[in-house]
Amino acid sequence: MSDARARILARMSQGLGRPCPDTVARVQREDAPMARQVVHHVADFIARAHALQSTTDRVADMAAVPAAVARYLRTAHLPLQGVMWPQFADLDWVAQGLALEMRAPQSDDRTGVTGCFCAIAETGTLLLHSGVGLSAAASLLPETHVAVVPVARIVTRMEQAFALLRSEVGSVPRALNFISGPSRTADIEQTIVIGAHGPRRVHLIVVDG
């Protein structure tokens, strides 16, 4: 195996006409151009999330989140059952009639309530990362994914999300999951069908306070 490595590397340095350098200086460039300018973080994030078939709600503070989750599930005639990340343990869920458990989801759990590390206005995308108490499956297995997005965590572009990770988390977590709306496929006759293997619905609760 190490022979294969040596031979592949030798082939590359031969093709490139020099021995493999130990260090390489990056070409210095300005920030990469964005696809579209972000004028207003929150409004643009919400508009672009809608374009990805996410739905949104906006509430004043964290205390209002359980009511917003209940409202969404009831209006959509969805089961009031599921799992949530433990970071929301202190909120009053029971008063809203919600049976959300703080655990990793089973395949038949109906709703997964998660937070997010940050959200990206350029595309309307969420960034969740893995870790203890941050079940990745909670945003994947249940057919409804509800994510709580504090306004203060909406950044302009993906590069800023990476910068935030470097400053707040340090080393990159095992999994970064950028989520842009419900799962979908167009593999049969180029017809877009929402709800392929992952969630059929992504609902974002944008929290101002």
């Binding site: 093709g15 490139l16 493999c20 941050l134 095992r174 999994a175 842009s180 496929t185 593999d187």
Partner: protein, 470 residues
Amino acid sequence: MHATSDRFKSNARERLDDAGLQANLRRFGGGFAERRREAVGRVDDFEALRDRAAAIRTEVLENLDHWLLAFEAAAQARGTRVHWAETGADANRIVLEIARAAGVQRVVKSKSMVSEESGLNEVLESAGLTVTETDLGEYILQLAGEPPSHIIAPAIHKSRDEVSALFAEHHHTPPTRDIPVLCEQAREQLRPRFLAADMGISGGNFLIAETGSVAIVTNEGNGRMVTTLPRVHVAITGIEKVLPSLDDLAAVLRVLPRSATGQDITNYVSVLTGTRDPGASDGPQENHVVLVDNGRARLLGSALHEALRCIRCGACMNHCPVYQNIGGHAYGWVYPGPIGAILTPAYLGLENALDLPQASTLCAACEVVCPVRIPLPELMRVLREESFSRGLRPWHERLSIRLWRWLALPPRLYGVASGVAVRMLRALAGRDGLLHRLPGLDGWTEGRDMPAPQGRTFREQWRQRARRPS
């Protein structure tokens, strides 16, 4: 994958005569180009995004060995085991060894074109493992026993009725024309397999040198499933897929989905690094990356170097009028369309794919959409030059080029020859002014007439008019 790229002509003819396929190509072929156009229209300056993506990919290739080693070191520091495979067969052997060592029985796979190159599924299955493709298109093709015909929409050549028939046969469900119902059936079939799998195999859209991560983009969420749920994850990918940093990933992702499916961003972009955190509830306990050469390294610094910039978006085939008329299978290997016309001969040997670089009018519809600005027509021309200089083309073709060159250069000879040719063609033409058959040009006259020359050559007529002294 077993290649039939040496039979391109007959493959193409067969596909042109396949009425079902033709109907499918016609119905679904144009959608991608339309959606890309719309997506580009929503961008402030798409050309600037292409410039940046091309610049990054160009920069990486200049020191690909360095960035690969940087990736390897960073990945190993996070507990990922990095394997190097010179050939597809080596890659298969490595994956099988990983599976055996980990006591794996059930494998779920998300789409990997490199594993199509190597024919990984066959190897794993003949070793007794159960392998399930989970990308819907790939799943359909696994049931059908067919290779993909497109790199991002593998089953684009199949109609809903064909899918329904396959599902009815394998799932024992009633046939349906309802596409969401078909998708639902696949979801129900595949969900338990995700949950029961011991090992997930994925491709890798990019390798990030900065962090030792594998980046995977999927819409269906199957890429997330196979890298989140099973206890072992193996990513198998080509050595050219490195990007130096996460910021480079951000820049390249601005062009990849827009060029591929016309989406502003793919539903799921996962950046995966190392193994499950202690105390976390998901993620693989064992993580491997298989770096596959299979012909790539020797392209570095060659005349085809720029083809390695490819980020596998499929835009070139979506815009290629040849691909749109014959479909992907005619190309006879993993990569169809313009990029396939370059990579197939590059990886399998030109003599095994001799007609592929000729399978283009050099119309450049591919070049103007390529998100990393690969000069695809120029690279096809490079391969044509190699065919010509190595004497690989048929004798009559070589002879006719030589003859043309011999005549085209000396003006006087050219004048005489074209004058004679014009007279001959006029003599052969029917009264309708058309040539219905031309000896040696059956390729033309099989399906088209040739309008006969109007009269004597322009040069002859011009000289005769002697309109002005020279």
